[in-house]
């Protein structure tokens, strides 16, 4: 009986063009859109240097922190180079700004002064870097002052050069930390691909919902026919759900293959673990589909709408339309993302990317399996010996 249901459910699902489109083709098409939209942005982000000018006076050369930071950020050997810097006189800097050859210039006297022409992304980045330098300078000054007072109060000789070296080292450590993390920062495109996979996993729920509706007498005539057959709903559904899971996995495999070989997405070193996570995610999607089919008492179209809404909301909260949303939810309503399968999937992907250990990844895998188990228990319990008040 299992194989009989498996075989015909597989045929039924594969011959439904709408389902095939949404579960197999749509994620691939969306992947192509992401590729077209975001890969260009990233290239632009890495290639476009910001033209700035620095008034090369004595005060600038004395401010070692500023001079060194700008040197590093303008070094053409540096892969994270940000600026194309011209060291010029004040008059020349003003002329370059007027002719729009630079977006702004820095003048150092007792303080660091920044002059820009307009408000834009480049100007914001320039201003941000300058602010960071100012903050660090203040930190160094504060450290030096505190150390000097401490040494003085202890009656020790104040070695200004030593204190300055210590402050520089501390600052260097701080910069290193920032540097390391920035190296591991996920690109925006990767975040989108992760959410895309999560969405594809959950979209598989449509297959499960569709095939489950065929077992419910209050949904359609075929449901009536299957409900009066001498086979328990659980037995019938098991074969059908396995068929829909197989189609989901085929869809995911196609999505992985397409993104890797056609869109050249680099998923890093943990591809197998990612696939394992996606399989668990698909199971969660499938169980979500059965729950919507069995527990929500409404017509087929409304159920489809509800499932898509749940999926899209889940993806939205997990960061599909902007990673900030995931952080906001994590900070303010952590339970929501703990129960959100899309978030569990993307979180697992981030865990694989960021951490050397698998603890968090395994936590996400187990969470997805538990989510699936609970949803399935609820659904099968609802289906058991089901009769209706009206059909």
């Amino acid at each position: 009986m299992f194989w009989h249901n498996f075989k015909y459910s597989f045929k039924t699902l594969l011959k439904n063009k709408t389902l095939v489109f949404w579960t197999l083709l749509f994620p691939i098409i969306l992947g192509i859109f992401f590729h077209l939209a975001f890969s260009d942005i990233e290239k632009k982000e890495t290639l476009d240097l910001i033209d700035i000018a620095v008034v090369s006076n004595d005060a600038f050369h004395e401010n070692k922190l500023l001079a060194e930071t700008l040197r590093v950020l303008s070094d053409d050997k540096n892969e994270q180079r940000l600026f194309q810097t011209s060291y010029v006189s004040l008059a020349k800097a003003q002329k370059l700004l007027k002719e729009n050859k630079v977006i702004g210039y820095v003048l150092v006297d007792e303080d660091i002064h920044l002059t820009v022409n307009s408000n834009g992304v480049d100007e914001t980045v320039f201003a941000f870097v300058m602010d960071e330098i100012k903050v660090k300078q203040k930190m160094m000054e504060a450290f030096t002052r505190e150390e000097t007072i401490t040494k003085y109060s202890q009656g020790e000789l104040v070695d200004y050069e030593k204190i300055y070296r210590q402050a520089s080292q501390l600052l260097q450590q701080d910069t290193d930390v920032i540097h390391d993390i920035s190296n591991q920062n996920l690109s925006y495109t990767m975040i989108e691909y992760y959410t895309l996979i999560a969405m594809a996993c959950l979209y598989g729920g449509m297959l499960a919902m569709y095939i489950t509706n065929y077992k419910l007498a209050n949904m359609n005539c075929v449901g009536k026919r299957t409900s009066i057959s001498p086979v328990s709903k659980g037995t019938m559904l098991l074969g059908s759900l396995c068929a829909s899971y197989l189609i989901q996995l085929i869809g995911l495999l196609l999505l992985f293959l397409f993104t890797i070989f056609v869109l050249h997405v680099d998923y890093g070193n943990h591809l197998l673990a990612m696939i394992l996570l996606a399989c668990c995610g698909s199971l969660a999607g499938l169980s979500l589909g059965i729950v919507v089919a069995t527990l929500i008492k409404t017509n087929e179209n409304a159920k489809t709408g509800i499932l898509i809404a749940i999926t899209m909301c889940g993806c939205f909260f997990s960061g599909m339309m902007g990673i900030t949303m995931k952080y906001i939810i994590d900070k303010n309503i952590p339970l929501l993302n703990k129960l959100n399968p899309a978030s569990m999937i993307t979180d697992g992907f981030y865990a694989l990317y960021y951490y050397d250990h698998f603890d968090r990844f395994l936590f996400d895998v187990i969470s997805l399996l538990l989510f699936s188990l609970v949803m399935m228990i609820l659904s099968f319990h609802e289906l058991r010996r089901q009769t209706y008040d009206h059909i």
Partner: protein, 312 residues
């Protein structure tokens, strides 16, 4: 004869609306029982209750001597249902549809293949095996629907208005098929609001209206209930109240109706009613064109019992 179905005191209500009220009846082995009633009379609800698809408030249902429950799989194995709506997978071919539903009852592949082929032959879909439902006409779809319901050779078959919206050719094909099923030994419950069909097919008829059984018996027994022996219809051009009153005075006349040039006279008994009426019309110089006499129909029975037409 053994009782295949025993329904006792079956009642069902949707909140305050009573849809079945103390319905009780038996179905004997090998008979065709007709459920006759207008739309919404409770025919399909009764079947759904018997099949345990619907919950009911009161009553007991036994099939083949055993209480019918949602998990009575051995009983379900012996039941076939042809629903009012076409219940097939749009995505599967004619053959696959029948094979799928038959496979829920028959595990043995070889036997199943034989049954499926026989069902296809039975409904005359031999040339449409690879067709998909959307490629079939309404009549052919109905035949597929029947094949899906009876392919596993059930002992008890429910046919819920299988001829609704079907062309005359397919309708005849379906009715012939039902007779064949009975010949093969199946017990059949046939619901319809077409009185001609139950008149031709059924051994016994139950007339339902507003969830209550109004009458039960063979077609002839029911027609006797109507207290009508004969009905004469005459197409006339001139008619007066005086002439109508004159007809009413005949001893055997039950009712006289005249509307839009059609005179209908019903008699509760009498042998020479037609000649007597013709003579009277001639005497009164009434010009008539068509005249015919007929036996009472089940619609007359229904009219007598409820005061309304069956298809109202």
């Amino acid at each position: 004869m053994k009782k295949v179905i025993e329904v006792k005191n079956l009642s069902k209500a949707y909140k305050t609306l009573k849809v079945l009220e103390h319905v009780s009846f038996d179905v004997k082995e090998g008979e065709i029982l007709g459920f006759l009633g207008p739309n919404g009379s409770g025919k399909t609800t009764t079947i759904h209750c018997i099949l345990t698809l619907l919950r009911f408030n009161e009553g007991t249902i036994n099939i083949f001597g055993e209480e019918m429950k949602p998990d009575s799989y051995e009983l379900k194995r012996q039941i076939g249902v042809v629903f009012q709506e076409v219940a097939v997978f749009e995505e599967l071919s004619v053959f696959d549809n029948i094979d799928y539903f038959c496979g829920l009852y028959i595990q043995d592949k070889k036997q199943r293949k034989q049954y499926v082929e026989e069902a296809i032959q039975f409904v005359g879909l031999e040339h449409y095996k690879t067709f998909y439902p959307k490629q079939l006409s309404g009549g052919l779809l109905r035949r597929l629907n029947i094949a899906c319901g009876i392919a596993h050779k059930p002992r008890l078959i429910f046919l819920d208005e299988p001829t609704v919206a079907v062309d005359p050719q397919s309708r005849n094909n379906i009715l012939e098929g039902i007779k064949k099923l009975r010949e093969q030994g199946a017990t059949i419950i046939y619901t319809t609001h077409y009185m001609e069909e139950v008149d031709i097919l059924c051994d016994r008829i139950i007339i339902l209206d507003q969830g209550k059984i109004l009458a039960e018996g063979t077609p002839n027994e029911l027609k006797e209930l109507a207290n009508i022996e004969e009905k004469i219809t005459v197409e006339v051009t001139n008619m007066t109240e005086k002439i109508i009153e004159g007809i009413r005075k005949f001893k055997t006349v039950d009712q006289v109706m005249f509307e839009e040039g059609i005179l209908v006279v019903t008699y509760h008994k009498g042998k020479n009613n037609l000649s007597q009426l013709v003579d009277y019309l001639k005497e009164n110089k009434v010009v008539y064109h068509k005249i015919f006499s007929e036996r009472p129909t089940l619609n007359d029975v229904f009219l007598q019992l409820t005061g309304k037409e069956l298809r109202d």
